[in-house]
Amino acid sequence: MKALIDAQNISKIYGEDSNRTVALDGLNLRINKGEFVAIIGPSGSGKSTLMHILGCLDRPTSGKYFLEGKLVSNLGENELARIRNEQIGFVFQAFNLLPRTKSIKNVELPLIYSKVKQGERETRARLMLEAVGLSDKLNSLPSQLSGGQMQRVAIARALVNKPLVIFADEPTGNLDSKASQEIIEIFKKLNREGRTIVMITHEKEVAGKAKRIIAIRDGKIVSDRRVK
């Protein structure tokens, strides 16, 4: 079966000579459609760099990255923007909602860049907010929402363009345990519905909710196991 994500011998090196830092060191990774993967590792292990490359936010220094069979590691900035827009959804630790902007407008954002018309944007954004249980917060501003609610808006935004995969970077890092629990439940539900989720976390308990846990250290995969 062809992997959704196929990273081959990926390296990422920052700086030169004495400042040279190897963030990823010839890493190989395959993730299939429908998986729920947690990537764990101490800070500086290279897990964020890996997610940036898999999320097409950054390019590897060497190696090949195929997304749904298509080589994307050598694409230009505009093509990468298009892939991020159409095939990838992001959830960030700090939520990254536009301040002073209503929930529904925040969720509409990716659709603006894929030229979806205003009316359809609103319909789709509303459906997504309803799916994450925020049908009563459509017109709320981020400042009027709790952390858990903000992260749910962010998830709705990640989902609105029906991406192939969702990348979540420490999605529970800024949340209390109850809100964390809610967010993880949403991810699990999404995964049951068939969505592929790749989540970075340093919390063991959160990682334990995933179906597969990949541990990274010094830019290499040190363990890769399935959770029953």
């Binding site: 936010l57 505009n78 923007a81 902007t101 990716p110 860049y113």
Partner: protein, 397 residues
């Protein structure tokens, strides 16, 4: 992303950051408002001058001694006065069908005295016809007649201001005043005429031309006022004057000015003034542009996370560039429109003192200039925003 979406996006961003948007536009508002206001003041001055000239009568030609150039290359006359009374009289004899009146004028500054009071005033020696053709009448007493002139009688008619200053509450008519220490009897006081170009024309003494000649001993006239039948015959009359004068004088000895010429030269000076005022205002507009650039740059830094997020969800560099550029332009044009409104209101407020007017070109200039400033000064911040690396921008605190 099409331009309509970009504009919508920019408008939303402007609405969301109201205070910052207003501050950004402020520089442009002030710049455009001052451009419009200063140009309207310049226009008002031109209107005022034209109006004052119209009061002098449109069918006049002035003959001045020497070569006088008006306009930017102008300077003092270069030769001595060769226009004598003989020449003026010859002109009168040969005035032809288009000229109704030749009026030589002696003009000098004198000190007028009465019972210990004294005042510096302008003495003008004119023919008696001057009163009728200028429409000036005596408020008290009478004006001098042709007979007074022929007999060189020592009579004067004085202006209202001079009368009030010298005579206080006394009646001037019938009294004797001293001009250059010689006695003259006042036969009339002129009706008030007010100001002409800032000069009080009620502070003057008029006397018969021959009397003035005797007083000054001058053989030359200061100017000759030529009245034509109508404005249409101006050119023909001018040609006639030129023909007669050239018989005895060279081109460098006299200057013929028509009302039109004087007016247009003064207006050209005023238009330079208007442009200079506009230029000063334009500088403030550039300062406003730097303000836009400055605040947009701050805004790029402040919105780095927003830019990062937009990129993460699929914005291409050119989408970000477009958004920031359109934001800058909208703010500038918006500032321009408000500036024009304020300038216009200012001009209305001033119209009580000066006939100010806001010409269409000033409005267009204001809008054109402000949008240009917006584009020029919006480019740098927009480029910076579009080049931000998404991962760097997302992590920005």
């Amino acid at each position: 992303m099409d331009i309509l979406e970009t504009i919508k996006l920019a408008l939303e961003a402007i609405k969301i950051n109201k205070l910052r948007s207003i501050l950004t536009a402020l520089g442009i508002i002030i710049g455009v408002a001052s451009i419009v206001l200063l140009i309207s003041i310049g226009t008002g001055l031109s209107n005022y001058v034209s109006g004052e000239f119209a009061k002098l009568g449109a069918n006049s030609i002035f003959v001045l001694p020497g070569r006088v150039q008006v306009g930017p290359q102008g300077g003092p006359p270069r030769s001595i006065n060769k226009i004598t009374f003989d020449i003026a009289e010859r002109l009168d004899r040969e005035k032809g069908p288009y000229i109704t009146e030749i009026s030589p004028l002696i003009q000098l500054s004198v000190t007028a005295g009465y019972k210990g009071q004294s005042k510096v005033t302008t003495l003008a020696g004119t023919k008696s016809t001057y009163f009728a053709s200028s429409g000036i009448m005596a408020a008290e007493g009478r004006v001098y007649s042709d007979r007074d002139d022929t007999a060189s009688r020592k009579v004067v008619v004085i202006g209202k201001t001079l009368a009030a200053d010298l005579f206080k509450n006394d009646t001037p008519v019938g009294k004797t005043i001293l001009l250059s220490k010689k006695p003259f009897s006042v036969i009339g006081v002129l009706a008030p005429q007010g100001n002409a170009g800032g000069v009080d024309i009620d502070n003057q003494v008029l006397m018969p031309l021959s009397t003035a000649r005797k007083l000054t001993g001058a053989n030359q006239v200061n100017s000759i006022l030529v009245r034509t039948v109508s404005t249409k015959e101006m050119a023909l009359a001018k040609a006639q004057v030129e023909k007669v004068l050239k018989r005895t004088l060279t081109e460098d000895d006299f200057t013929i000015l028509t009302q039109e010429q004087l007016l247009s030269s003064i207006l050209s000076i005023l238009s330079v003034l208007t442009m200079a005022l506009g230029g000063i205002a334009a500088i403030s507009l550039v300062v406003g542009g730097v303000g836009i650039s400055n605040i947009m740059l701050v805004s790029v830094t402040e919105r780095t996370r927003e830019i990062g997020l937009r990129k993460a969800v699929g914005a291409r560099p050119r989408d970000i560039l477009g958004q920031f550029l359109v934001e800058a332009v909208i703010l500038s044009v918006f500032g321009g429109v408000i500036g024009i409104t304020i300038g216009f209101l200012g001009s209305l407020a001033l119209s009580n003192f000066l006939k100010t007017a806001v010409p269409l070109w000033a409005v267009l200039l204001g809008i054109g200039f402000s949008s240009t400033v917006g584009i020029i000064f919006g480019v740098a911040p927009a480029i910076r925003a579009s080049r931000l690396e998404p991962i760097v921008a997302l992590k920005h605190e």
